[in-house]
Symmetry: C2
Subunit: 197 residues, 2 copies
Amino acid sequence: MAQSLREQKKQQVRESIVEAATSLLKSKGLDGFSANDIALKAGVGRATFFRYFESKEAALVTGFYEDQLTAMVKALEIAPADLSPVDTLIWLFKLLEESQGPDNIEILKQGTLLRSFPSLRAKAMEFQVGYESAVSNAIAHRFNDLRENDIRPGLLATAALTVVRSAIDQWIDQGAEGDVQSMVQDALAFLKAGFPA
Amino acid sequence: MAQSLREQKKQQVRESIVEAATSLLKSKGLDGFSANDIALKAGVGRATFFRYFESKEAALVTGFYEDQLTAMVKALEIAPADLSPVDTLIWLFKLLEESQGPDNIEILKQGTLLRSFPSLRAKAMEFQVGYESAVSNAIAHRFNDLRENDIRPGLLATAALTVVRSAIDQWIDQGAEGDVQSMVQDALAFLKAGFPA
DNA sequence: ATTTAAAGTGAGACTGTGTATCAATTGATA
DNA sequence: TATCAATTGATACACAGTCTCACTTTAAAT
C-alpha cells in the first residue's frame, strides 16, 4: 500500500478541516466563525484542529496555496534547459497562467480576500518563503560561475515573485479590468530590462 | 505651541509603551512577557495599551521601523533630480547605509529577531506596504511617458525593497560576515542589469 | 474663574486563541 | 490476541483583543 491506514486518516482529517474552513469562509465571512466552528463542522474536536493548523488563517491559506506551490514546483522541473534564469521565470508564469485558463475570477477572489484581511495576508507571506526557496533552487544552476554562497538566485526569485504579486495587486486596485496575464508578462519583461525609465 | 497638551501626553504614553516593550524584549525574550506586562511596566492600564497598539508585536515593530520610515521619506525628498528611477534607489540606499555608519550590529539584531519570530516578521511586512507607497510616489515622476495607472513605479519600488531585504537576509544566513553595504549595492546593481546570467 | 463638552483612561466582563494534560480509542506489530 | 505507539476528545488554563461604563483630564466658552 502506498500509505498506511493511519496516514490516510490523517490526510482525510486535514482535508475535511480545510474544506470546512473554506466553506465557512464563503458562507459566513472571515470574522463570522471561529476555529471552534471549523472543528465542529469538520467533525473533529477543537484540540484536533489545532494539531493540524496553528490558526484559522493557516487552514484557509493552506487551502489556497498548497496546490499552487506543488504545481509551481512540478512546472519548474520540466522547464527547458537552455533558458536563462530570468527567461525561466517568464516561461514559468506563462505556463501557470495558461494552465488556469482565462477566468481570472479565482485570482481576483483570492487577491481581494488577502487585500481585505491583514491576518490572511500575513499568513500568505509565510508561504512566500516556501515559494522563494523552491524557485531559487530551481534556477540556481542556470547562473554562470555560480559560487558557494551566491546570492543571485535568491535575489532573482524574490524579485520575480514580488513583481508578479505587485502586478496582480495593482491590477486589482485598478478595478480588475484588462488582461492580468499580459500585465504580469509586461511586469516580468520590465524586470528583465532592468526597470528602465 | 506646536502641539496641544493632549497630543503631548498621547505621544508620551506611546513612547513609554514602545520603550517598555523593547526593554522587556531585551530582558525577557519575546515569549517571556505579555501585553499586560508591557502596560504594567509603562504605567498604563491594559486597555490603554490596546488603544495604542493592536498587539505586542505591533508595539515592537513600531519601535524598530517608525524612525527608519521617516528617514527614508526625508532622504527621498532631497534626491538629485537628474537620476533615473533605479539610480535614485541606488543613491537612496547608499545614503541610508552611510548615515548609520559601519556598525552593522543594529541591522543584524533586527534581522535576526525578525528571522526567529514569524509573528514579528508578519508585522514588519505591514510596514513594508508603507515603504512601498512612499518609494513609489517618490520615484513616479522620474519615469518617461508616465501614464494614468502606470504600474512601473510600484513594480520598481517593491522589487528594490525586496531585493535589499533579501540581500540582508542572505548576509545574515551566511553568518553576517563581510560587508553588508556592498552586498546591498551589488544586489541593486544586479537588479539594474536585469538579473543577467 | 466656572461651567460645559470632548477626549482619554482604568477596571472589569466577555469571547476567542493557542497550549498542555490525561484518559480513552485506534492502528501497527508480533 | 496481546501489546505498544500514535491519535483523539475533553478539560483546564493563560493570554489576546474587544467592549462598556464610570471617572478624570483637557479644551473651549462664557
